[in-house]
């Protein structure tokens, strides 16, 4: 792959990225930014939309935790964007969710320039909150050595960490650090819009074959991790008894749904009048087995899975937020992978690929007939 090589003194990628963004502002290819930024108390991160040079300088484009899934942040611009060339720096899984939400008409991509980056994973929010200073230290090390010991379980299983010849996620530009010489990073165009921007900036395009091996290696490691972890996970999910047991701790708080970038409905079916029953109905249900969990949560979990698994990007936000430590992200990712494979669909792979449920094919799934 080809791209432009830029300086990042002392391997401070964040600083390098910010210089690039500000040079784009000067050249008029960007007019504003959506970036991750430390909150005033310095104990977390938030998304900020700004055109202010000072705020850009104090931002942290590559941050240690995913507090709000980036696509959820972009969704709040649903009624329109105030500027036209907004550079958005987000993780690959956030980009993929952005693409999915654009297909669901929740995000308008026209005014956005999507910039993804090589993502080593993020720290579990709770671990970071225990000691934010230490979290910063740990994550800065991860940015250089890509050690996966301290990152979220769902990130350890993620193989969409960087761009390759075979496309797995869509953005306009991609920032890469893997396999690039010390104190440098590179930017690769990942769409037509991206090519135009690099042309406009008149930067010298170089061959980046040095990154092929390291990218391949990390992807292989992640896939192996996933294979191993699924060996343990799958038996916990197969069959109704196993599934009930898997979600038995669920307290119905539905925070998984609230933080999910794909669950965009203002009024979820599972919180609507449709799922309200009278005491008589509940008693009838309870009397078939003698007792029942109230409220039951399995229907919600399986229902949500049915609604969003084709677009699940395995970002792990649900698992990070679950107060009961249910491996909900891993379960959804496993089911999502299988459903997506059936339709030969990869959420967030391209702007154009239509959502399978929005397409009718006469000759589909013959083998499931009868």
């Amino acid at each position: 792959m080809d791209g432009v090589i830029l300086k990042a003194q002392n391997n401070d990628f964040n600083k390098g990225i910010k210089s690039f963004l500000l040079s784009g502002l000067k050249n008029g290819v960007f007019d504003s930014f959506i970036l991750s930024m430390q909150v005033p108390a310095k104990d977390s991160y938030a998304w900020i939309l700004t055109y202010d040079e000072g705020l850009v300088k104090s931002s942290t484009p590559i941050s240690p935790i995913m507090t709000v899934q980036g696509a959820r942040a972009l969704k709040s611009l649903r009624t329109g964007t105030p500027t036209q060339k907004i550079a958005v720096v987000m993780r690959p899984c956030e980009m993929r969710a952005v693409i999915e939400l654009s297909k669901l008409n929740q995000i308008n991509l026209n005014d956005l320039i999507l910039i993804s980056y090589d993502c080593p994973g993020t720290l579990p929010i709770k671990n970071y909150l225990e000691d934010p200073e230490k979290g910063e230290e740990v994550f800065n090390k991860i940015l250089l050595d890509w050690d996966d010991k301290n990152i979220r379980e769902t990130c350890k299983l993620c193989d969409k960490v960087s761009v390759q010849e075979e496309k797995t996620f869509q953005s306009d530009l991609h920032i890469t650090t893997l396999g690039i010489e010390q104190n440098n990073f590179a930017i690769i165009s990942n769409s037509e819009k991206g090519i135009e921007i690099l042309n406009e900036l008149k930067l010298e395009i170089k061959n980046l074959s040095s990154r092929d091996e390291p990218v391949k290696k990390i992807i292989e490691t992640r896939r192996k991790n996933r294979e191993n972890s699924r060996k343990e996970l799958i038996p916990q999910l197969i069959g109704l008894d196993a599934l009930s047991e898997f979600f038995s701790k669920c307290i119905n708080c539905k925070v998984c749904r609230s933080v999910c970038p794909i669950c965009y409905c203002r009024q979820c079916y599972f919180s609507s009048e449709k799922v309200k029953y009278s005491m008589e109905d509940y008693l009838l249900q309870a009397s078939t087995r003698g007792n029942m969990k109230f409220l039951p949560s399995l229907l919600f979990q399986v229902g949500r899975m049915t609604h969003m698994s084709l677009s699940c990007v395995n970002c792990g936000a649900c698992e990070d937020a679950c107060p009961m430590d249910i491996k909900v992200g891993q379960a959804f990712s496993y089911v999502g992978d299988n459903v997506q494979k059936l339709f030969d669909y990869l959420p967030g792979r391209s702007f154009e690929e239509p959502l399978p449920l929005s397409v009718y094919r006469e000759e589909e799934f013959k083998e499931i007939e009868n």
């Binding site: 005033p40 104990d43 972009l74 709040s76 964007t81 909150l129 038995s248 309870a286 109230f294």
Partner: protein, 372 residues
């Protein structure tokens, strides 16, 4: 004279036997109570008397506010056949608040509750030494001490008497492993209980009217002291805008606090409605005046707005803190500020079903000291 029944069994066995006898005699159709299965705890609707044995009515956990759940059981229509519900005092208080908001009904519900020693944070249910912890919890309660490892909200909760329950059980009694008393606290309860449940005696105590054992009075005054100490620690009343930003800066706008709150009953929260969607022109002017805006916007507005909506009814159950993914002490904030608001109106949520929520009542001469 108030009545009681003395039962010479351990409190858990005795209560279960009572529930079984009520089911058996068809005085009730089902039992609503806590159940534990390995590291899962949940409310269960039990119709089969053989399943009652699986219940853990006094397990010190609150997987969901039981008042919210009872509202979901009864808000379409009140129930036609009696059900016994074993819930904590704050859950009953929340349920009564919900009934005032037309979200449920006490009809045909036999409420059994205890003088509550508190509950533990819900995620403690997975701890490896849980049984040991639960044993210690009951040991402390028995000896009239406040158990350790409670929800922070429970540490400062002095509303530990379920004033409006039909049957009250005192868990803070040293004989609890061998015998306990069922305090009959309503006419409804008298209809359910009879000689078959034990000899009906006169009671020295009238929990609903502030007559109860000295040890409970001591615990209540200790908890009131705890509340003052906590208010001094957090100083919520002196936060100012910067303090609020520091406190809620971590908030990710997931609205789970509202989702589990028993008082937040709206099917579609105002702050999730189209009304509150960030409009392009507002965004533009915000961006011009501040140079940067946070996305999603209005995290603090949500918290303050919700506080406005529920503070007169906040029962301080602490569900919100338990589910907050970013460890904001939401429950402490809401309980502290709720308490102050309730003091202003001399209103105690859940205390009296007949008493209207102050924000639904107009009094001409109210809070005149806030004028100008």
């Amino acid at each position: 004279m108030n009545k009681k029944i003395k039962i010479n069994k351990s409190v858990e066995t005795g209560l279960k036997e009572l529930l079984i006898s009520l089911l058996e005699s068809r005085k009730i159709k089902a039992v609503f109570t806590l159940e534990r299965n390995k590291d899962a705890v949940y409310y269960s609707l039990i119709t089969d008397l053989e399943k009652v044995d699986q219940a853990s009515p006094f397990l010190p956990f609150m997987p969901a506010n039981g008042g919210k759940l009872l509202s979901k059981l009864t808000d379409i229509k009140s129930i036609s056949e009696p059900i016994a519900a074993v819930i904590h005092p704050c859950e009953l208080a929340a349920f009564i608040e919900l009934i005032k908001k037309q979200q449920g009904s006490l009809d045909n519900l036999l409420i059994i509750s205890s003088v509550c020693p508190g509950v533990m944070p819900i995620n403690n249910i997975s701890e490896t030494n849980l049984d040991e912890k639960i044993k210690k919890y009951f040991e402390s309660a028995k000896n009239s001490n406040i158990p350790t490892g409670l929800r922070e909200n429970c540490e400062i909760c002095s509303r530990i008497i379920p004033t409006n329950a039909d049957i009250i059980i005192n868990l803070m009694d040293k004989d609890i492993d061998n015998s306990f008393e069922l305090y009959i606290n309503s006419e409804k309860a008298e209809k359910f209980l009879g000689d078959e449940n034990g000899e009906i005696l006169d009671s020295d105590f009238d929990f609903a009217n502030n007559t109860f054992p000295q040890n409970i009075k001591d615990i209540i005054s200790q908890k009131e002291k705890n509340r003052i100490a906590v208010n001094e620690k957090y100083k919520f009343d002196q936060l100012g805008m910067d303090g609020l930003i520091d406190l809620f800066g971590k908030c990710i706008g997931c609205h789970s606090c509202g989702g589990v709150c028993p008082i937040c009953y709206c099917e579609l929260c105002d702050f999730d409605s189209a009304e509150h969607e960030y409009k392009k022109n507002v965004l533009k002017s915000d961006l011009n005046s501040r140079a940067g805006v946070r996305l999603p916007p209005n995290t603090i507005l949500y918290q303050l707005g919700r506080l406005n909506h529920i503070s007169t009814s906040c029962v301080g159950c602490g569900m919100c803190t338990d589910v907050c993914p970013v460890d904001i002490p939401v429950g402490m904030i809401f309980s502290s500020i709720g308490n102050s608001v309730q003091e202003l109106f001399k209103y105690i949520p859940g205390e009296n079903l007949e008493e209207a929520n102050p924000i639904t009542v107009y009094k001409k001469e109210e809070l005149t000291n806030f004028e100008d």
